[in-house]
Symmetry: none
Subunit: 206 residues, 4 copies
DNA sequence: AATGAATGAGTGTTCATTCAT
DNA sequence: GATGAATGAACACTCATTCAT
């Protein structure tokens, strides 16, 4: 989302620096996904990347910035994937289904990244102890979903429900489908997604 | 060694000890709810309770035992409340609504307790690094919910959906309603619950 | 060794108090022998005795006094036993043999007590960090042994060696026979003692 | 990953790291010798070395590793010294004398190191509470001594005694000579050693 | 005479961060 | 750019001791 010209006092980063940052972010993702946020110390992340601990501090202002960059990185990927899949789909019901299935698709292929994302979302706190993300950070996502519902209500395909409640529920259903699948790897993710699509179609329709 | 209600080998606890344990558990709940699991050190819990750090170690075998007792305490409360509300309710649809509304009711009055419960559930790990609870610990809850769905499917009121998917979704919807409400205290919890009841009624019915 | 009248400002101890002290000392002996001095906390000693931790503090000024009483108690026993065995024995060589054999005899029957004694001797330190016993505490023992050697040298049965060196060596040989036996319970203690008697007889004789 | 003298999987240690390790080991030796094993906390060792507590944890995996390194370091020294002195000595009697005198020589110059060695030997326990060294750890030493005795018995210079008893006694005589000297610094160590040599020569000879 | 509760200093260990090289 | 060394605060936990009951 950064503008191409790197304006506004933002120092431009060299290619090599970007590569290092990417490497560290990737290592952080893997470590967090494997051992959980609390056990993901900088030492562990550095060791996993095969670099010195100091490098992380050199490239990131602190642990918090590293974590935020992980979130940005992973979040960007998933948004891009869903955007691409949803493009051109017509009608609110189809949109709803497509959204669920697209996210699921991405989950299947990026399990680790999403696991790490969830860990950080849930656990990262700012210096003053407040959750850095938390439910509030989903606001953007909720608004995107609400647009789909509003569209459906406008066309008359959807009944007159509370769009925020539906968005929160929809979002949580997907998050937990993922968590359940991570905990039970034999669980049939695609079947779960299909069930979910049915469920929300019925919940929404007139 | 006391009397009839002392099971074998279980050391009896004095009244004063029970009181202290309860006080410490309450303090732990408040601290966890406020600053999160990771920041809830024994020092902080003790300070919040206005007691010395050692007292906690004196009354609990370790941090793990304290956390487990918090879980037992809070989990017991909520189960008791829901059981009581659900008793005597007839028919799967009514059961479904009642369950959602009963849990919501309890949430309104025990916000911090439930917040703490969630934190521990999500974060507590055993000495070997494995999650102490985690999604798998919901198994019992899922099975209880599946019984309601099976009942509805038997009577023909409910359609033929995957009961496990519904249970996971249902459970996550309630958890996140709570989380959303904690993050947005002005949010109308009761209206949210009513919407949720509608949503799942529609998702389940034939 | 206390005079029968309990004079000199020393408060007399009731029968029940003496019994408790003896019980605590016995428990301390067993715990120290089993887990070593460093792991022998008051809590452990109290638990082993089936009493409350506070009782120990009530009956003894502190851990140091308890340890000293253990030493007095065990040391007294062994001295009494050897004294009795040695009485009436004639000639320095016979005296030497008898001493070694008498101590060994006592060891066989009071393994735990002697183990505890050794632990305290080696580990107990005063508040200022100095060893409470240590080699110096053997002075009394060394002098007793030196009397036997002097006797033998006077009669001409023993050659003209340094009596202090012999006493230190003799004493250490017995201590380590014991330690070796504790570490290797199948070791033949009596055979070891007999060998030791031969060894010192040859080392001493003209 | 450095060069030829790096065996497989063994991380190479920088010069500066080796220096720090050596400094910490030296500090540990001094502190243990002065205040005893039990009082030798990492905090004390760090303070004595004029460094932060964390440095020790940085350079050693834990207290146990530090202690083992102290043992290795000191034990290696003494073994090397005795080996060098004993080399080329002919005949069991001369070997016996040389061994005693060589060890004594080393003691005179490395008092604190040997004191620390003894403390660790006697006190260090593994995580499960078992002695890390203890009498059994002398096995190697005993076997070395037994070879000297067997040699003397083969040549006929030594009588037919139990070699294990002699080894235990010999070893303990030297240990206690040292302990006695530490407790009584004015004691004439060389004279003691000479007496000991006589003593064991007479105890062994036909 | 005995207890159980509480204390507070001390333990080894972990970790994000800093900094000279 | 990168490193490894060092820091110091924080962690859970242990323990001898004190004290009201």
């Amino acid at each position: 989302m950064r503008s191409e010209n790197q304006s506004s006092g933002q120092k431009s980063r060299s290619f090599i620096e970007e590569a290092r940052r990417a490497q560290i972010i990737a290592s952080a993702v893997e470590v967090i996904a494997e051992v959980g946020f609390a056990q993901a110390s900088l030492a562990r992340i550095a060791q996993h990347a095969g670099i010195s601990k100091g490098v992380i501090s050199y490239h990131f202002a602190g642990k918090e910035e590293l974590m935020e960059e992980v979130v940005n990185s992973v979040y960007g990927e998933i948004a891009a994937h869903v955007m691409a899949r949803v493009e051109g789909v017509e009608g609110p019901t189809a949109l709803l289904r497509t959204h669920i299935l697209a996210v699921t698709e991405h989950m299947r292929d990026h399990r680790t990244r999403l696991k790490a994302l969830g860990e950080i979302f849930y656990n990262l706190r700012t210096a003053d102890g407040q959750p850095r993300y938390g439910v509030k950070a989903n606001e953007e996502l909720y608004q995107a979903m609400e647009q789909i519902y509003a569209y459906g209500q406008r066309t008359g395909e959807f009944r007159d429900f509370d769009r925020r409640v539906m968005a929160v529920t929809h979002s949580s259903a997907i998050d937990n489908m993922f968590a359940y699948w991570v905990a039970n790897p034999d669980h049939d993710l695609d079947a779960h997604a299909a069930e979910l699509a049915d469920l929300f179609e019925r919940a929404c329709r007139r």
